[in-house]
């Protein structure tokens, strides 16, 4: 397997401090390898966006990182912990090494500045010596890369359509040639045609430029199609992680199965669509044991008392996948 580029180790993120803190991300271990698309799926409130904000240290108060490491492996030089960077180092790391495309395509651009200003100010911040002319040339190049004509440079965000704005954001994310691009529900606000077009373009760019992607969405069907590996989050924990095809064919965790059977397959035999009963857990009052057990159709004796650890399952294809479920007790815990 390719070498890792970003390793999240035992990351914990809370909202608030003290006894009343809400644990939004708990003991998450996740590794992103060079050149891969890692999908992160889960219901609203499962902690997937918090994980993304946590590992880039963009959490707004009262969000706090209470523990863990985010180890980044630069292309050259030794790996370092992003959580230990000084403010200055962090600013230099952001966007140059890890860029983010955010949920709200509509609101990610500052309405009072031209597209060109917003594309070039990131160049200016990271390379003050770059000339005005080469900055603007680079911005044009990025727009061309995402299929927007260069004469839109002087447009304001409100003069662009939603799809164009999200393309601009993708172009902006790639402008410094980062190793990692985090996409936090990048196409949620777009219609399905535009969604497919933009994601297809992104995958093509990834093959060309060779960056890695963490793709966060609640739409598991998109992930099955576009990602190499998928991690499923529930109640702030990763409950299953496996190659995309493996998850699609043979998900082990009942929650993953529930997610998979809640959307129809395009090909293959017709099957019954079923939702997951109940609602996502209240992060402030998590059930004891496995947090999914109140909604789980297969819950049995240990589920309501002990938390299952994420580890290699006892199935024949156990290598290369992990699950946190008492139905498949871990042979080898991960992390």
């Amino acid at each position: 397997m390719a070498e890792p580029v970003l390793e999240i180790r035992n990351l914990n993120v809370d909202y608030g401090l003290g006894d009343r803190a809400v644990h939004a991300v708990r003991d998450v271990n996740l590794t992103l390898h060079r050149g891969e698309v890692l999908g992160l799926a889960g219901e609203s409130g499962s902690g997937k966006s918090t994980l993304a904000y946590g590992m880039t240290r963009l959490l707004a108060p009262p969000g706090v990182i209470t523990g863990g490491e985010v180890v980044y492996h630069p292309q050259q030089g030794p790996a370092y912990d992003v959580l230990g960077l000084t403010d200055r180092q962090l600013r230099a790391w952001r966007w140059a090494e890890t860029a983010i495309v955010f949920q709200g395509a509509m609101n990610s651009l500052n309405p009072v500045h031209k597209i060109s200003t917003q594309l070039t100010d990131v160049l200016k911040a990271h390379d003050p010596k770059m000339s005005e002319h080469s900055r603007s040339a680079r911005a044009r190049e990025m727009l061309k890369l995402v299929g927007i004509s260069a004469d839109r440079m002087d447009a304001y965000p409100h003069q662009l359509s939603g799809g164009m704005r999200q393309r601009v954001m993708i172009g902006m994310a790639l402008i410094l040639q980062p190793q990692v691009v985090i996409m936090d529900e990048p196409t949620t606000a777009l219609d399905v045609v535009m969604q497919r077009q933009i994601l297809g373009q992104l995958i093509e760019l990834r093959e060309r430029l060779g960056f890695s992607v963490i793709f966060i969405t609640h739409d598991l069907s998109l992930l099955v199609e576009f990602s190499n590996r998928i991690a499923i989050m529930y109640g702030g924990r990763i409950v299953e992680e496996a190659p995309a095809a493996t998850i699609y064919r043979d998900a082990l965790h009942p929650y993953s199965k529930g997610l998979l059977s809640s959307f129809p397959a395009l090909r293959g035999p017709k099957r019954e669509l079923a939702g997951i009963p109940g609602s996502p857990p209240d992060l402030a009052g998590m059930p004891a044991g496995c947090s999914f057990h109140p909604r789980c159709p297969k819950a049995f004796e240990p589920c309501n008392s002990a938390i299952p650890v994420l580890g290699r399952p006892d199935t024949p294809d156990g290598a290369g996948r992990s699950v946190a479920c008492w139905l498949h007790p871990a042979e080898q815990p991960v992390g």
Binding site: R91, S108, V112
Partner: protein
Amino acid sequence: MKYFLQRIAFYLFTAWAAITLNFFIPRMVPGDPVQSLITKYQGQLSTKSIQSLYVLFGLDKDEGLWSQYIDYWKQLFHGDLGLSFTFFPTPVSTVIGQALPWTLLLVGITTVISFLLGTGLGVLAGWRRGSWVDGLLPVTTFFSSVPYFWLGIIAIYLLAGPDSFFPSSGGFDSGLVPAWDQYFIPSAIKHSLLPALTILISSVSGWILSMRNMMVTVSSEDYITVAHAKGLPERRVAVSYAARNALLPNISGFALALGFIVGGTLLVEIVFSYPGLGYTLLQGLGAKDYPLMQGVFLVITISVLVANLLADIAYLLLDPRTRKEG
């Protein structure tokens, strides 16, 4: 450009309506300035001179309202606002011309300082919530909630007096003649300090509060998170992304405040007997001085309209979303 012309046309219409109202309102007020002038001269006026006073003031009973209105407009275009009753026979334009600079300088400069200071503090308070600037808020809010005349009187009571540095009334020392020389200017500045300070104290909190609230609102916008994620320097995010967007409502507030410089200073000038437009208006009101009142109202109306126009232009420049293409 088309949008701009539309705005101009709108303002011209508003100006016409305001000036017309300005003509009619004093004529609907009961009472008669000539009568009060007769009282003032204690019966020393002959019947003929009374009649000529009526004609002079444009209150000729033989003339219809319509021709009075036409005359009013004709005079207006000649810059002739009539003769003041109070300062008879000084023309109103001269009276206003003497009073206006005092108001403009005192309140104008104070408003600009108050806006700049308040907005600056508001940016700080909104960007770094919980810093010392937040501690300033209750204090300034307290002062702004104190009725202005009371604040002025207390300031005079505590700070001004015969032995004090601050004079309690007037715009300059009574022994001086207004001129641009080394005696008059320091005296004028000294007289303006206390009124300026009280205006500042009572108005700055509005700017701080509105700017802070907008900063807080804008800070949670997605593009601020993006700006942070882009690794931009903190200052640039605060100024070019947060404050730049948060400023917009304050700019229109500022333009409106500029419009009220001329009209909104009655209390200040009365409390400090400051020789500005508000004080002049008060004198005109007491004497049923139509021409003077009309003149002052005209200046107020025009300044509010001009300020609104400025606000529109500023908005066009600052917020691209308000621009219409073509």
